[in-house]
Symmetry: C3
Subunit: 313 residues, 3 copies
């Protein structure tokens, strides 16, 4: 599968006066091995206009040719940015490529309305930046996705809430209270009003309610990445530390972690469980009984519930 | 009541190269029928300076004269924007005019620091936008209110959190974690640190705590719009799916939906109820008993509690 | 201790056409008494370039020399801004200087990408601001910290979420859902994904989970400022209205206020308490028992728990 183990692209790299690469923009990243002849490495014309010295930021911008082996750890800033672009261009899905070393390779920079600026220069530049009306968005390792990629058929109500590396499928809406980290996102049309942590993917038709929290990995120390099933609903201000199955609902305001002791209620009666045993089970309703205060899981269909075999002791 | 069934204004409309209207700014929208003679249709001079081609965005801006019959469904982009302006200029209150068709009429565009940009052009324009330092705020149907309207005696700590069409009365403060949707807002001086959904209005002196969630309509499928009473308090991280009466308090961290089974505690004893039966009832305290876990409603005055007649079965 | 009771600096002040000071930027505020000779009052050259009339905003910018007696109430806009800068430059810690009168002295202005603008002028200027691509960040009393100060070794994922006057120590990360008010912040390296209210300080190594809420003062009317201990963990969507001791954990989704009646569980058995009696106690786990709904506090070390002497009746 050479096609999906490698990727390449021409990027517009920004370097500070000390030669450190601050960020790289890949306009049209591609899967597959890089072309072997120089002819196919032709620099896109639209990047040319952006190449050169930018005295406002004390940086130089230049075109780089980057190729990544997606099965290997991230080896440079250019490599890191290329992989983030692959995710946001929907060329790869979250958790499908090697991101080891990514955070270590990314420098902390000031992301501004005129591009990246080294933190070593920011204070010196501040007076002229103020005069020029430059907006500083963040001092961070990850920029805002919308400053690098335009996702198709996606709404993002506040550009500050979606990081480069987010994977937003057509039909997705990220509202003001939504948030999507890198290597995380949606696999279909979803309404996102809560926070999708690194590594989390959300199925088609799911609804992440306002202020809902999704832990990145199984709470309690697991390495298993959490997913949210198709047509699942996380109520407003709810949260989960387990995988949520298709058509499963978590009541507004309830936080279910892996260790939550709950009562499974089916036609056959009640059964005490830990929530992790219901990780990934479809068609459930998680709620806190408002008369007794106990957390319960109910079958929404009336059918029996099959526990998670991997996790059920 | 001709005065309140019609509205009109001169708007600055932005159209893309294909002739699609992207957004319209009405500086001084007016209630009442539009003037019948041409003289009164004089284009405001301050709009003139903004008319013309804008190559940075591949758009044309031109002045439109729009009149809306507020009793009829929304019929165009211009009409949609005029109605949103009426709300944010406090000329009409939320839920008082016909907004049928509004969302369908509004195009999804990129809202930027130099105005609206067609999504069809955004990728092509990106290199020059980067160079010019243009900030993309959102890719959405609704822009930020502060980019169109300056509300009087109102504080907005983060402009990204208030949509055009929000109705913010003098004395209101919207903090960083606050959010106000279109056709929603405050009727008096309120502290807003939580999320006011579409259709929700908040009474004078109410306090919406940090991260508090207000469902747009009665949870459980109702069409009744939710309101928050005068001097009501929603605690931090709380949430409601019912209408909250005057002087009623919801404890921090508690989510009360219409179907929440709770115990009403009065001098006469305890009574089991669904929360919807207390929809709109004043002077209550909603809390979850931290010893038993059950949800309770208590009279804050010691006086008897009269249930919601419309909703009490 | 003259050194810490006074502070001074050259500031770049912005005044509107009516002579009202809108904001002041102190590039290098200093602790201690101001120099007595004129020579040491030399205006920094880098401020010179910013001095003059700015017709875009209808303001004048000029250099001021401000000295503050930090033991006295805030006496002017310049004084207010100097004290906010002292906090964000880490020259003073939260709650260590007199901030009486601060809010009253600060004017409400529009903070934009080209600086502060009077609200009286904003509507008139709007057409030309649109054309110039000016971004309005807020209409508020407090600007964004990153527009005035570059903190060392700190990450801020969304500049809109940290107010000038925040105190962020090296190693701190403020994620997108984090928020830090003025006179509040971190004393060491902390992960901030929740909201740090005015007056709250967070200890080294603490983790404030996504959407977590920290009340500013002891809930229930107290004036005692809340602190979060070293290595403490507030789970996602949790909240506290008491001081949290070192190494203490609050479970995700649980809100603990001063008045929360809970059960302390130790080797010696169970003991009913109000949460305020555990204010500041280290090594606890606060949780809501998911079988009984009651709120519990457990010793994380197995050792006995010593109640807060000041608060335990």
């Amino acid at each position: 599968m050479t096609q999906t183990t490698h990727a390449w692209g021409h990027g517009l790299a920004t370097s500070d006066a000390r030669g450190n690469v601050l960020d790289v923009w890949f306009r049209t990243p591609k899967l597959g091995p890089a072309p072997v002849t120089d002819e196919l490495w032709v620099v896109p014309r639209e990047l040319d206009a952006l190449v050169g010295e930018d005295k406002r930021r004390l940086v130089n911008t230049h075109v780089v040719r980057t190729e990544s082996d997606l099965t290997q750890p991230v080896s440079s800033v250019e490599d890191a940015y290329l992989r983030l672009h692959l995710l946001s261009h929907l060329l790869v899905t979250p958790n499908s490529i090697n991101l080891e070393g990514l955070i270590g390779q990314l420098p902390i920079v000031a992301f501004s309305s005129i591009g990246s600026i080294s933190l070593e220069d920011l204070d010196q530049l501040r007076p002229q930046l103020i005069k020029a009306g430059v907006v500083i968005h963040a001092v961070d390792k990850f920029p805002r996705m919308l400053d690098y990629v335009t996702p198709a058929k996606v709404r993002i109500a506040d550009a500050s809430r979606v990081r480069l590396g987010a994977h937003l499928s057509p039909g997705t809406t990220v509202m003001h209270e939504g948030f999507v980290n890198f290597n995380a996102g949606t696999l279909g049309a979803s309404m996102v009003e809560g926070r999708i942590s690194q590594g989390v993917v959300v199925g088609d038709g799911a609804d992440i309610g306002g202020g809902a929290s999704i832990m990145g990995t199984l709470s309690g120390g697991g390495k298993e990445k959490i997913t949210i099933g198709k047509r699942a609903l996380l109520g407003a201000n709810s949260g989960v530390g387990i995988t949520i199955g298709d058509d499963t609902v978590v009541e507004a305001g309830l936080y279910v972690t892996a260790g939550t002791k709950l009562t499974l209620i089916t036609q056959e009666g009640e059964k005490p469980l830990k929530a992790v045993e219901l990780s990934g089970v479809p068609n459930l309703l998680f709620r806190r009984n408002s008369l007794t205060g106990r957390v319960e899981a109910l079958s929404r269909t009336g059918a029996g519930v099959i526990l998670n075999k991997d996790l059920h002791p």
